[in-house]
């Protein structure tokens, strides 16, 4: 139990990139009815790369820590890379393996970000 706790709490206690950007190109909200998790991601894009990223939201330790780790990872990444970041790969990056029901919590931020990125790319390509 201690191990699980330490892993969860590290990012939960001090989530990285917590907050929201005033000047953004992407703003995407999503929620997970299981835990009542909510996340809103804002990004600034520069030359198809994520220049700045922040997230806000309320939720369980898994969703919050996953959002913290995700935002750290994707900063500076190409949008294509973000879209192609698979659930499996992200869960590997996340490190901690949640129970099957709670994988949704761990993937909430990734799914939200991808939604936002796909919309942005669609707008840009019009």
């Amino acid at each position: 139990m201690e191990l699980l706790f330490e892993e969860l709490m590290e990012h939960y206690k001090e989530p990285r990139n917590f907050g929201s950007l005033e000047n953004f190109d992407i703003k995407q909200f999503d929620s997970n009815p299981l835990c009542g998790d909510e996340v809103e991601i804002t990004c600034k894009i520069d030359k198809d790369k994520i220049k700045e990223i922040k997230f806000t939201g309320e939720g369980c330790a898994i969703s919050k820590s996953a959002a913290s780790i995700l935002t750290e990872y994707v900063r500076g990444k190409n949008l294509k890379e973000v879209i192609e970041l698979s659930n499996e790969r992200f869960l590997n990056l996340y490190g901690f393996k949640p129970s099957p029901m709670r994988i949704k919590c761990a993937l909430l931020a990734l799914i939200t970000l991808k939604k936002g990125v796909v919309k942005y790319v669609g707008r840009e390509n019009k």
Binding site: M1, E2, L4, F5, K13, L34, G36, I62, S99, R102
Partner: protein
């Protein structure tokens, strides 16, 4: 020690504290289900061969056991797939018109809220709520019932707070309304006598009372069921069918279209036998005492316990401030303790309590004080870890 009657608890070495979600199943229920499939699985009511007759007999015998259990007639017992379907059956079948009022409460499970809310939207009905006070009791006032109130549908026992609602007082003030009670949390834990309560309809599920999943009950007063039209059509619910017309079957079969859940009903019948052997009053006392003990222990730990209703069954909701209930639940799971974390299918009530969710423990006959002690010991460890990690609680 009733724990020994429940194979799963031994096989998985669990402390199971989520009986308000579903109960575990005793060996005799599991055996009855096996016996059906091993020895007389067949369709009911139509087959004229011995195993079909046996299945029909057992299916109808289960109906009699249910009827006796809630003090009704067998023809007043409709088998459904659960409380949710029972309540939906009424929402679909009752004759309601624009302007009619429906009165429910703020502590309803989604299953007794969403059907009425959606029906109200569709038929332009007025949906009103009996408020819940800080103690977790309903603030029922007779003036909430008007001449336009056609339906009062309330939960008998809250699945979050354990509150036992004063149904007789509501029945006394019902005016022309029909009174429906959601017995999902009451029938498995206390004596429910439909005649004594005076309700028109009662809905409950087998799986919370040691029976299998996918089978539930709608009780209705015979004269009301006679007048009510079915909302599911098909086989078994008919007497005669021509290309132009159909004559429906008698009550209760006219509400049971399609092949029924025969094995489910038989399992429920067996579960009722099991309850009767122990005595429902003993079950009520056992679970209530465990609830009280859990509240005492949790309060000693300094965690926030929700609700302090006048009458309460063995359901306790609490929060470790600063921790999401699902995180608490996951941590307890690591120690083989099953509790519920989240909104417990009562999101409006959560809003009223001003929380996103709660940790809920609920008890049944296989739980003992030692289970509470182990829960509290692990929660103590969680609190120490929280403090060590500098999270404010």
């Amino acid at each position: 020690m009733k724990k020994d009657d429940f194979p799963l608890l031994k096989n998985r070495n669990l402390i199971y504290l989520d009986s308000a979600a579903t109960s575990q199943k005793p060996k005799i229920v599991i055996n009855a289900i096996n016996d059906y499939y091993n020895n007389y699985n067949s369709n009911v009511h139509r087959g004229v061969y011995s195993i079909s007759e046996e299945a029909t007999l057992e299916y109808e015998k289960a109906r009699e056991k249910v009827a006796e259990f809630v003090n009704a007639l067998p023809s007043e017992i409709i088998f459904t797939k659960g409380t949710t379907e029972s309540l939906n059956l009424l929402a679909y079948s009752l004759d309601l018109e624009e302007g009619d009022e429906i009165l429910i409460s703020e502590m309803e499970h989604h299953s007794n809220l969403v059907p009425w809310q959606q029906l109200a939207k569709k038929k332009k009905l007025k949906l009103k709520y009996i408020p819940v006070n800080e103690d977790g009791d309903l603030e029922f006032k007779p003036k909430l019932v008007t001449d336009k109130t056609k339906v009062i549908s309330v939960t008998h026992v809250s699945n979050v707070l354990g509150t036992v609602n004063d149904i007789k007082n509501i029945v006394k003030n019902k005016k022309k309304a029909l009174v429906i009670i959601d017995g999902a949390q009451s029938v498995p834990h206390m004596k429910v006598d439909v005649k004594e309560l005076g309700v028109d309809f009662l809905a409950f599920s087998a799986h919370k009372m040691f029976g299998p999943m996918g089978i539930g009950v709608l009780y209705g007063k015979l004269e009301l069921l006679e007048k009510l039209d079915p909302f599911l059509y098909g086989g078994d619910m008919i007497k005669q069918v021509s290309f132009e017309e159909t004559i429906f079957n008698d009550v209760p079969w006219k509400f049971e279209a399609g092949t029924p859940n025969v094995v489910g009903a038989i399992g429920l019948g067996k579960a009722i036998e099991y309850i009767n052997e122990i005595g429902i009053e003993n079950i009520e006392k056992h679970n209530m005492e465990l609830g009280k003990y859990a509240i005492k222990k949790l309060k000693e730990l300094g965690v926030k316990v929700y609700g302090n209703p006048k009458n309460k069954l063995g359901v306790v909701s609490f929060n470790l401030n600063g921790m999401h209930p699902h995180d608490v639940s996951s941590l307890l799971d690591q120690e083989n303790i099953c509790i519920r974390g989240g909104h417990s299918c009562a999101m409006p009530l959560m809003k009223k309590l001003n929380v996103n969710g709660v940790c809920r423990v609920s008890f049944h006959i296989y739980n003992e004080k030692e289970d509470v002690d182990r829960l509290v010991n692990v929660l103590k460890k969680v609190l120490i870890l929280v403090e060590k990690n500098g999270i404010t609680v």
